[in-house]
Structures are given as C-alpha cells and as structure tokens.
C-alpha cells in the first residue's frame, strides 16, 4: 500500500501547495498573469502590486492557514475519539464557535460603549476558540458514557443542532443589516481578512499547530487506547486537555474569521492517508496540514469562478467537492479507519 516514502510525499505536497498558492492569487475578478504575481510578491512592483498585497495575498494566506488548521483539528479529533467520522463540524465545534461569536456581536450592539473593545479581532478569536473548546469538552465527557461511535456522532449532531438553533434565535432578533453580515459569514469566506485579522489568525493557528506537534507521542499513544497509553507512561489526561486547547484554538480562529467551513476537517485526514498510509502523527500532522491548505486553496479557486466576476460561497464548494469524495472513499474502501 505504501508506494512512496513520506520523505517524497511531504515535499511533493509542499510544492503542490506553493503552485496552488500562486494560481490562487492570479485568479479573481481581474486575472493576473503568474509572471506579474511573482513580480508583485518578490519585487513589490508592477501594476498589480496593490491588488496582490491588499486583497489576494491575505486571502491566499488565509486559505493556507484555515485549511491547515481545520484539517489538523479534524485529525486530532479523529485520533482522540478513535473515530474516523469525527470532525470539527460534525461534532459541533464550529457551531459552538459560531454561537459565541454571534453572542459577542449582539453584546457589542447593546453595550455600545465597550463595543470597540469587544469587537477587536482578538476578542472574537478568543470567544470562538472558547466556544469550540467548550463543545469539545462536552463531547469528551459524554464520550465517557457512550462508547459507541455512532451514538457519539448523533450526540455531536444534536449539540450542533441545539447551538445552531440558539444562533438562529439571535439572528431572528437582530436587525436587517446585522442579519446580512451574519448570513454572509455563515456561508464561509476567506476574503474578509485584512492584515490585522490575519496576524491574529496566524498567531492563534500557529500556536495550536505547535501544541499539536508537541503532542506527537501522546497522539500516537492514544491510537492504542487509554490503558495502553498509560502503561507507556503517557499522561492521558494532560494530553487530552492539550488536544482540546489546540483544536479549540485552531477551529475557533478559523470559524471566527472565515465562518463555519464544513467538511475540510473530516475529509482531509482520509484523503491524505490515500497518499500517506501511516498512523504516525509525526508524518500525519504536516501531511494533513498541507493537505488542508491545498484543498482550501483549490476550493477558493473554484469559488472564484475563473473568468467571471461572481464569487460563490466557500462552504458550498467545500461540501460539493468533499461529500462525494467521502462517499466514494467509503464505498471503495468498504470502511475507513483512523
């Protein structure tokens, strides 16, 4: 099954990401030739410099960060629950983040004196991370009683539905212009991040990624189950808390600035394992992070509808590409596993 070693696949993925990064920047309502993209990026000259630096580059970097973060979050959750169908959107983490972001925006409306403070990128990121982490902890505590994989997923879906309904109530009571902002946010977008939001996004996601990488040994140990992990001198409780923090940070930050992007966290770990059939997180984490970045760059390219000025909602594209892929994989492999 393992046709190529990781030392070949990982650089290949990195190169693929680099190419898509440049293509992503060159495509948009105004197509920019690749030569001019490179000129603008490396020499900061040329006619397109302004578009590239102000709009296209932040958007492409957001794709890379958000894709990598969601996919890594999905991998961490699948390993922690030892459940191939776990993912940030499936188990309600993104809904948790959405709820806290919505509440924060509402609070900002009614307490106008502290509105500016509350609606800074940092507080939105923190609220979203907290929302994701709270739902994650809720699911973990439920998982102690429910050993059945399917039951866990159903509970995740219910938590997701419950939080979404609270969000809808908030929407219903909000004013028309707020509602529109919120609806657009729900559709998922990587284009609304300026450099100030981007720096927050990058810091939070890189922190989450760093924690994930520091957990390589514990994550591998979790695959054998709690008893074996403990017999191998792995501190399961501490590792689990750190997984919650890392996933909460990564998923929360993405949800705060890009909206609840579906499917990436669930599917990318499985897609990457088609190329890298391994269980070692030392290889899986970089592989999955690169895979997530690639997928989101691709989805964003499709969403731009090359040759048109229209932009499709990102969430529609990730699900449209992703859902059939997962169905195909389940049918082909009969079963998918962690």
């Amino acid at each position: 099954m393992q046709k190529y070693p990781a030392s070949f696949i990982l650089p290949l993925l990195a190169a693929g990401m680099g190419v898509l990064f440049v293509v992503n920047i060159s495509i948009g309502s105004v197509p920019i030739p690749v030569r001019d993209v490179l000129k603008a990026l490396f020499a900061d000259t040329g006619t397109y410099s302004e578009i590239v630096w102000q709009f296209r580059l932040p958007k492409a970097i957001t794709c890379v960060l958000a894709g990598g973060a969601l996919a890594t979050g999905g991998l961490l959750m699948q390993t922690l629950f030892r459940n191939p169908m776990a993912g940030p959107d499936v188990l309600g983490l993104t809904s948790g983040s959405s709820l806290l972001v919505a509440m924060l925006l509402m609070a900002g409306r009614y307490g106008s004196s502290i509105a500016n403070l509350i609606q800074s990128p940092w507080s939105i990121a923190i609220a979203a991370s907290l929302g994701g982490a709270i739902v994650f902890m809720l699911i973990i505590s439920v998982a102690r009683y429910v050993r059945d994989n399917t039951a866990l997923l159903i509970i995740g879906l219910m938590i997701s539905a419950a939080t979404s309904s609270v969000v809808s109530v908030l929407q219903f009571t909000s004013q028309a212009d707020d509602l529109q902002t919120f609806m657009i946010w729900m559709l998922g977008s990587v284009g609304s991040t300026g450099w100030s939001e981007l720096s927050v996004l990058a810091i939070v996601i890189l922190a989450g990624l760093a924690i994930s990488i520091s957990l390589v040994k514990s994550l591998n140990g979790m695959l054998l189950g709690e008893s074996y992990a403990r017999s191998l001198a792995i501190n399961v409780k501490r590792s689990r808390t750190l997984v919650v923090i890392a996933t909460g940070l990564m998923v929360g930050a993405v949800t705060a600035f890009c909206g609840p992007i579906a499917f990436v966290g669930l599917a990318v770990p499985h897609l990457v394992r088609l190329l890298l059939p391994v269980s070692n997180h030392k290889i899986l984490i970089p592989g999955v992070a690169l895979g997530g970045a690639i997928l989101l760059l691709m989805c964003d390219i499709v969403a731009q509808l090359p040759g048109s000025t229209q932009v499709l909602p990102l969430n529609a594209i990730t699900s449209m590409i992703g859902a059939p892929v997962v169905i195909w994989m389940v049918i082909k492999a009969k079963r998918i596993s962690v």
């Binding site: 140990g221 189950g225 008893s227 191998l232």
Partner: protein, 320 residues
C-alpha cells in the same frame, strides 16, 4: 535484574475493584500475593471474575481501593483492548514498546532499533514486519502485541487473555513462547486465562480465583489433586485427574483390549467414545496386530475371529 526466585512483584492487603456512583465494588478479599522472578504464573478464574481489573491494578494503570502493590521491576502489558491505527506496520506497533524511553519527537537510537528488531525476531514476525496490521491474522496480531511488550524491556510481563479467540495451534505457540521467555530471559510472567488445559501444562504456578472471592495459589498438580479446580470450574463431564472427558459405557458391553503404544491409546479412545467399557477380562476381545508398516485389529467374539484394517470397520462390526 534481581536474582532468580527473588520477589519481583508483591501485593499487601490489596483491594481491587472500581467505584461507581460513590459505591465501591470490591472484586476480591484483600490480596497478599507475590510473583517471583522467572516464574510463569497463570491466573485463572471464570469470566467476569475480575482478572482484567486485577492485572490493570498490578500494572499501576488503575488505582487500587486500598493496599499496596510493590514492583521491583518495570511492567509491560498485553491487554484485550482493541487498538486503532490499522495503517501502522508491525514494526510501528513494536516501536511503541520504546515510548517510555523516548523524547517527545520520538527519536530512536541505534540501540532502540536493535531492541525492536530483537523483539520482532522473538515472535518470528521478521518476514511480515513491514505489513500493516489490517493484513495480519488474529494470531499474528497477538504475537505483534507481545513483541511490543517485549520491546519495553521490562522484567515483568502481565498478559490478559492473550490466547482468546485463537485456534489451538496459535494458543500453543503463544504459551510455548511465554514459557521460553520465562525460562531463558528470566522474565516474570503473569497470564490471565481461562484455558485450563494449556495452563495446567505450562504454568509454574496457578493463581485461581475461587467463588468466595479469594485467590488460591499453588502448583497446577496440587490444585488438581485437592479438587480446587473442580470447585471453581464446576467441571461437567471432564475428569481433570485423568485429563479426559468422562464417557458413559452406555452400551453395557465390556471389551478386552490388547496392544501397545499410541495404537492402544487411540483404540481405547475410540471404544470408550462409542460407549464400550474397556476391561482386563471380557468375552469380547480385540488384539492390535502391528508389523513395520501396517496395523490391523483382530476381533474375537462368540468364538469367531475376524480382522479389520481400520478402526472404522472394527467399530461398525462391533455395533452389529
């Protein structure tokens, strides 16, 4: 490593069990047991008696309710827990044994690699070391799990039902391997099992969980002869003292059998299985005739004699 026969693991008034809703469920009376170095001990008892809980408590991954466990050596475990990670290879799995000694980035030294390869060789999985776990048979997977525990390089090895769900051949192979490990590498090994026949033939010592929630210690033969096994397992139709299933001579016919060696034993088996009683003197008699390359059975009944080349034919004739 300690001297042969020294105590490797000891419990003092150990109470094992679990807490549920603030209620303590105690599984055994307070236990004071010891494992000696180089010993192979089989821990027997009916299903659900608490073998897994005791093993996990001895290994220190489950807290005891009271009392102490003193270990004079590190402990490695083989459990019945299902593992994930079907993408990993046998070698990846064995590498887990080195985890307690590795840093967070899992950098393996040349010594680690040597220990891993040795562990794989011990269980004879060299040829499939690069196969993924989902391609292995149940027996091979269990061997790989044991190799993982061996790579941990501990003096004590605790195994929970390592032969469950395996066929006879694999069960014998695993018990022989454990026997060899105890003898040649001086490991102290505790195996929880309910496989009576294998335990009786391989264990140095038996820990037997009795219905009154005690654990009786002893060598297998003593426990057989004093009837402790019969009490615990409530044996139905299996005579432990002869090691055979008890047959009822329902045909009420006695047969006299003369012969030697394996042929004698299996002929006797066939007769008893078919409901005949084999006695020293009877009007019906069977002689086993053996020369260098063939066996025949001579039946004398009602002063008539006839000869058969297979037990099948002999039994058919007897039934007439």
């Amino acid at each position: 490593m300690s001297e042969p026969g020294n105590i490797a693991l000891q419990t003092t008034n150990l109470v094992v069990g679990f807490k549920q809703d603030k209620l303590e469920h105690v599984l055994f009376e307070p236990l004071s047991l010891a494992l000696r170095q180089g010993e192979l001990v089989c821990f027997m008892g009916s299903n659900g008696v608490g073998k897994t809980t005791l093993i996990k408590t001895l290994a220190g991954i489950q807290p005891s309710l009271s009392g102490t466990v003193t270990t004079h050596d590190a402990v490695a475990l083989v459990l019945t827990d299902k593992i994930s990670g079907t993408w990993m290879t046998v070698r990846d799995l064995v590498t887990y044994g080195r985890y307690p000694y590795l840093n967070w980035w899992l950098s393996l030294t040349s010594e680690d690699h040597l220990i891993i390869e040795n562990a794989i060789r011990h269980v004879h999985l060299q040829l499939i070391a690069d196969k993924q776990l989902n391609q292995l048979s149940d027996g091979q997977l269990q061997m790989a799990m044991i190799a993982r525990a061996l790579a941990q390089n501990t003096g004590i090895l605790l195994l929970d039902e390592p032969t469950a769900h395996l066929d006879l051949n694999n069960r014998v192979e695993i018990m022989n391997l454990l026997r060899m490990l105890a003898r040649e590498t001086g490991k102290t090994i505790l195996v929880a099992t309910h496989e009576l026949d294998l335990a009786l033939q391989t264990a140095d010592k038996i820990w037997l969980a009795t219905p009154d929630r005690k654990i009786v210690e002893g060598i297998p033969e003593d426990l057989v002869l004093n009837g402790t096994f019969d009490d615990v397992f409530n044996l139905k139709g299996f005579d432990l003292k002869t090691g055979k299933i008890t047959h009822t001579p329902y045909r009420k016919i006695s047969v006299q059998l003369e012969g030697t060696g394996a042929e004698y034993l299996w002929t006797k088996n066939a007769l008893e299985r078919s409901g005949y009683e084999v006695t020293a003197h009877a009007s019906t008699s069977i002689h086993i005739l053996m020369d260098d390359n063939s066996t025949a059975w001579n039946l004398v009944r009602n002063h008539a004699s006839s000869q058969y080349n297979s037990l099948h034919d002999l039994l058919n004739e007897l039934k007439r």
